[in-house]
């Protein structure tokens, strides 16, 4: 992102160096996402069990694991699309969904819908099935939230949207409706739409799973470009090549637990747990 280059650009390279030493994170850069003891249940179904995740500024964290292991739910909890059952989520030190001060009787005070919307506005999210607004052109899709939420002028938002569409290689598709774009193009518009809010971090929920194999590369290229620019990212993905190349840390999830965490080298090349070994054998 051009908007927040201050600590990220430098922190990023430090993080990249650190990955090859011992620890998965660069101790110098500030923590952006802090998930502690997160549980999520849907009725009797225990989907997330005691999950911890720390992502520092400029880091790329990739969540891998079999389907149904809770990766997407963890991502959706970070963005408050799901309400956590237990545990805390902090973004840049700010508790998500609840007031910092607990009530005199020890309970937490839930935030209002507006306050939660304001917290979400700082987090970009990209979905597996794109979810572009079908009644708007690519340009209008990217312009919508900055005009409606940040109350930026239409002219300014359009200029920013055109720059972003150019960045994802779709400047010539600005006036096309989503139904006239390929899956890969739609996903790139969706990334531009999320970037238009100038988020502090980006969440990607299997961004390439709904794409034809030949279109995966164009979306991954945009992700790599973002990572190189110092964007803090959490990516749920089955693309092991991408994880190896771009990730600073990889977390392997199974049955709601984060079983292994570490650098791509540690996890992909030297998996410790039997489950991860089995998973890698089936994916690679």
């Amino acid at each position: 992102m051009t908007s927040n280059p201050t600590p990220d650009g430098t922190a990023r390279s430090a993080a990249a160096d650190a990955t090859h030493s011992t620890d998965s994170t660069a101790p110098s850069s500030p923590v952006v996402i802090e998930v502690e003891g997160l549980h999520k249940t849907f009725g009797d179904l225990h989907v997330l069990k005691d999950c911890d995740l720390t992502v520092r500024s400029g880091e790329v964290a990739v969540l891998v694991g079999p389907s149904g292991s809770g990766k997407s739910t963890l991502l959706r909890c970070i963005n408050q699309l799901e309400e956590a059952t237990a545990g805390t989520i902090r973004i840049e030190g700010v508790t998500q969904g609840y007031a910092e001060q607990s009530l005199p009787d020890g309970r937490l005070q839930k935030l209002s819908a507006q306050q939660i919307a304001a917290q979400r506005a700082r987090i970009g999210m990209v979905f597996q099935r794109f979810h572009l607004f079908p009644h708007m052109t690519a340009l209008q899709n990217v312009m919508e939230a900055p005009v409606q939420v940040l109350r930026i002028s239409k002219a300014e938002s359009e200029a920013r949207a055109r720059t972003l569409l150019e960045r994802v290689g779709l400047a010539d598709r600005a006036d096309h409706y989503p139904s006239e774009l390929s899956g890969g193009q739609q996903q790139r518009v969706a990334i531009a739409r999320a970037l238009a809010m100038e988020p502090e971090l980006m969440l990607f929920d299997e961004p390439t799973s709904a794409l034809d194999p030949e279109l995966v590369a164009e979306v991954l290229a945009v992700l790599k470009d973002l990572a190189a620019d110092g964007m803090t990212m959490v990516v749920v993905s089955h693309e092991m090549g991408f994880a190896r190349e771009v990730a600073d840390q990889v977390a392997f999830m199974d049955e709601g637990r984060i079983i292994e965490r570490g650098t791509p080298e540690q996890l992909i090349d030297h998996p410790r747990s039997e489950r991860l070994q089995g998973f890698l054998a089936s994916v690679l």
């Binding site: 079908p134 939230a145 006239e180």
Partner: protein, 348 residues
Amino acid sequence: MSSTDPHPASPTGGDTPSGTPGASRTTAATARPADPEQFTPIRAKAAPRPGTWVSAVIVGLLVLALVNFLVTNPVLEWGTVATYILDVKVVQGVGWTLLVTVLAMVLGTVVALLAAVMRRSDNPVLRGVSWAYIFVFRGIPVYTQLVFWGLFTVIVPKLVVGVPFGPELLSFSTRDLLTAFWAAVIGLGLNEGAYLAEIIRSGLNSVDRGQTEASKALGMGNGKILRRIIVPQAMRVIVPPLGNETIGMLKTTSLVLAVPFTLDLTFATNGIANKLFTPIPLLIVAALWYLAITSVLMVGQYFLEKHFGRGFDDRTPVAPRRGSRSGRQAAVTRSGTTPHDPLPEVEL
């Protein structure tokens, strides 16, 4: 469709008789050009469809019989029809009928949208209000409701703004505000709103949940999500039944004499018929006018559907480019040779 089509011949191009099928096949196979871009379209005569001709003859005979009946039957009095179809009272009646229809539909749609949104709300009070409104106004016959609205000034002689059981701050005489015209509009509009609420609710529910999630993830509030994202997409589903309801409303306006509002088309033609003792020609006058207005409304519906269908209709891409994915799909669809029907819809 097929006139500009350069690709494999459609069955309608059967005017050129071909030789024996075996012979033409072999020549095509032997003389295959080297360039893969070049090809000889299949030349074929259309398969015989005798059903078309049989039905054409039967329907033709029936139409002739109908025309004969319409022209020769003296009871229809076409002369009277011609005299009164542009009668001042009739034309004014058309105007009033249209005005009542449009205003009642606008009121009904606004109320219905509110009721549908309230019905989906997390707030149990609003949900209850919406349920009660739909229960009452859908459950009572519209004729009864219109009589009630006509008597509203008797039931509620004045409207008072003030503290309940306390002092009055403002008061209005309803007789000055609620004329027969507005009683008709409000009566029809509120009744219609109760039906439309269910149509709009199903339209709102038809929008993919992912749309709400994507909007939430962008930090949009519930009101904005509804207004900017959900309603515009729901309109695509809502407009066809809304057009249906509008045409229904056009005809329901003939009940406004229950208020009594006495300027609409049916009342005007009935009045003339009673004066002349010739009910049949004036029924024809009314029927022709209702048909004419319906045609105009159908044109309006077409444009509304086109507006709200933008982005969904892949038959009219913005700029189909040769070789592009959308351009290719558009060409496939245009040729009409593939039964491509992702969203089956009845076309007018």
